[in-house]
């Protein structure tokens, strides 16, 4: 069992993850709520390699970050809507 030593917030809820975990993984661990498209459809991380843009989230106030390409850091604030 990897050491879940990094704590961050996903939509305001605390999540603890192991070092090296992507933000996309942390979003999935935090529950079903990922991005919602402009027409109101639910979206979720798909390709996991920065191509499909479906995993976009606001990370530390910066919108449209591809969460599968960003590693979790202590105290990060991640928002999917």
């Amino acid at each position: 069992m990897p050491d879940a030593s990094i704590s961050l917030l996903v939509n305001g809820a605390p999540v603890s993850v192991a070092p090296g975990t992507t933000v996309a993984a942390a979003i999935l661990m935090s529950g079903p709520r990922a991005r919602v498209s402009v027409t109101g459809e639910p979206r979720a991380p798909l390709c996991g390699m920065g191509i499909c843009f479906e995993c976009r989230a606001t990370i530390n106030g910066f919108a449209h970050k591809r969460s599968c390409q960003v590693l979790c850091e202590p105290g990060m604030d991640v928002r999917t809507a």
Partner: protein, 375 residues
Amino acid sequence: MSEDWDVVVAGAGIVGAACAHECASRGLRTAIVEAGEIGGGATAAGMGHIVVLDDSPAQLALTSYSQGLWRELSSRLPAGAEYESCGTLWVASDDEEMEEVHRKRALYATVGIASEVLDSHALAEAEPHLSPALAGALLVPSDGVLYPPCAAEYLVRDAVRLGAKLYSQFKVVSAGDGLVRLNDGTELRAPRIINALGSEAVTLLPDLPIRKRKGHLVITDRYPGFVHHQLVELGYLKSAHSIATDSVAFNIQPRKTGQVLLGSSRQFGAEDSTVDYSMVAAMIDRARVFMPEIGTLSAIRIWTGFRAATPDKLPLIGPWQDDPTLFLAAGHEGLGITTSLGTAKVLVDYLVDGETQIPIDPYLPARFVRSEAHA
């Protein structure tokens, strides 16, 4: 097959669309011929900034006239045309450019365009993401933005509603002496033929003084509220004037979607539509001088287009040389979206009753024939 019309318009870019709409509105039996998509050329590539510009008195006359026509038309445009009266902020970097702001305000007032001088504090309040080091700006509230291909589509569809006929996916192979030949052999006869083919106008008239001037644009993902007005650096005119070299200028636009459209570049002699990343990098570097945080936004598309540039930066509107049936509405460089409506009014007024709301003389194509004869 042969058909008779009062007017045949070649080209359904924004200028051809506006001309066909104006002709049909006056009850003229109008045909419009488009080889590709309506508004699919430079019309689709440009920013869609409806802007009053004062590069020359004639440019000021045509842009201010046209801006008013867009405001009149705006309530009839479909939602997809995304018309928004967001205004332009002409951004001044230093005190010298603030003098230009005051000069511009006074000049615009002479043609009935109200504007407001913002000091650096007011500018920072209006656009918080701009650099605090800027000196101020001129706000022209009556300028706007729109999505040009949808506006062109509306103008063509409304012309058709008024009785015009669209020849879609037909190429004009020749035009002159009252006859337009299409690629399938169809002959359209008309006492007035309008060449509104933009930078392609030269394919029918190789002697036209029109050159392609390449531009790049970048559009970002959605960042609602990042920018509120169309922002243009006052130095824009300096770079737009520079004919010898490639140039970039800070020019940024809010879209209704929350997306940010970033320009602009100008290049002569670049006929290849490939994105030139050194130009894009120069555009972004220039933008970061004015708006440091622009670098944190995510760009989703970059594209290029070709402006139809004339030597004196004014369009060609009116009869062409010796053929009394042939007229031009082309060569609008970076202002074709703005000046399309004014161009159409001026040209059709000229054709129908010879009297125009603003003088047509500065735009008459004959100015180049004359200057060559005296050279």
